[in-house]
């Protein structure tokens, strides 16, 4: 598994919305560098916001790809909006909800909500909305320049199939 920033898909309403979660673990190497201790303060391990955007891109990207049976090469073309108001720390769960706003043969726009769920002695906290991430995806083979790409769908690789299978979703593509 490479470069996967969502752990499980928990809800999929085809062509409409998808919800995925990511558990943040102290075992993730990047947290040791983001941010390391200095002479004057201890380390501050927080999930990099750029990777939270990537988590939303994977959630929304799978939703958009699923809409056409993963025939299109769906690539992130634009981050229209990304606002995050709180740090996500180890032990917490990030919950991504992506909704298709518009969908055409050329691509799709999505709206996304990021929620944070904290572990507590009594279980899990109520999800708290910590951000909004709106994205634009392009169907690569429908590009305006008429550029041709390899036939093989290199976007939805084996890692995505595994993610779908372990989430209980059919991945026959």
């Amino acid at each position: 598994m490479r470069w996967m920033w969502i752990d499980r898909i928990v809800e999929l309403m085809p062509k409409e919305r998808m919800v995925a979660v990511k558990q943040i673990s102290m075992a993730e190497e990047h947290l040791h560098d983001h941010f390391p201790s200095t002479d004057t303060r201890r380390a501050i391990p927080v999930m990099p916001m750029s990777l939270i955007v990537e988590g939303m891109a994977q959630t929304a990207g799978v939703l958009v790809g699923h809409a056409e049976g993963f025939k299109e090469k769906v690539v992130l073309a634009k981050v229209s909006k990304a606002q995050l108001t709180r740090d996500a720390t180890p032990g917490c769960t990030l919950r991504y909800t992506a909704t298709i706003e518009q969908f055409t043969s050329a691509g799709a726009s999505t709206k996304g909500i990021v929620e944070l769920i904290e572990p507590t002695a009594a279980g899990e906290s109520t999800p708290e909305v910590i951000g909004h991430i709106d994205l634009l995806f392009s169907h690569l083979d429908q590009n305006m320049g008429g550029v041709e790409y390899p036939k093989d769908n290199f976007v939805f690789s084996e890692s995505f199939k595994t993610l779908m299978q372990t989430s209980g979703i059919e991945a026959n593509f």
């Binding site: 073309a77 634009k78 229209s80 518009q102 634009l136 429908q142 590009n143 305006m144 008429g146």
Partner: protein, 128 residues
Amino acid sequence: MERSEIFDKIQEILVDALAVDDDEVTNEATLIGDLGAESIDILDISFKLEQEFGFKIAQGELFPEGITQDPEYVEDGKVTPKGLALLKERVPHFNFAQLEADPSVENVAKIFTVDALVTFCDQKLQAA
């Protein structure tokens, strides 16, 4: 809807989609040259226009696709008369005076102005 009202809505859309200032969005401004739009922005702007005005935009309807890469329509860096005729048919909202005077292929992007966008929306709204 009045053209001035359409312009105001388009100005808001372009400020949002292209991260430009209000005063940069003038009728004469070119989307690709002056406002820095890239091909993916055209898709973004299409989506935003559809949402704002409630009409549908087919792929290639707003900005011509494929014509300027086709040797049938471009020769020696210039749009052929056949190419020009096809452009007029595909994107009638463009003002072709400049391209007719100098049919260099790079001038196709230069005639895609904010004013052309206003005309496009005006025509779509009137046809609805």
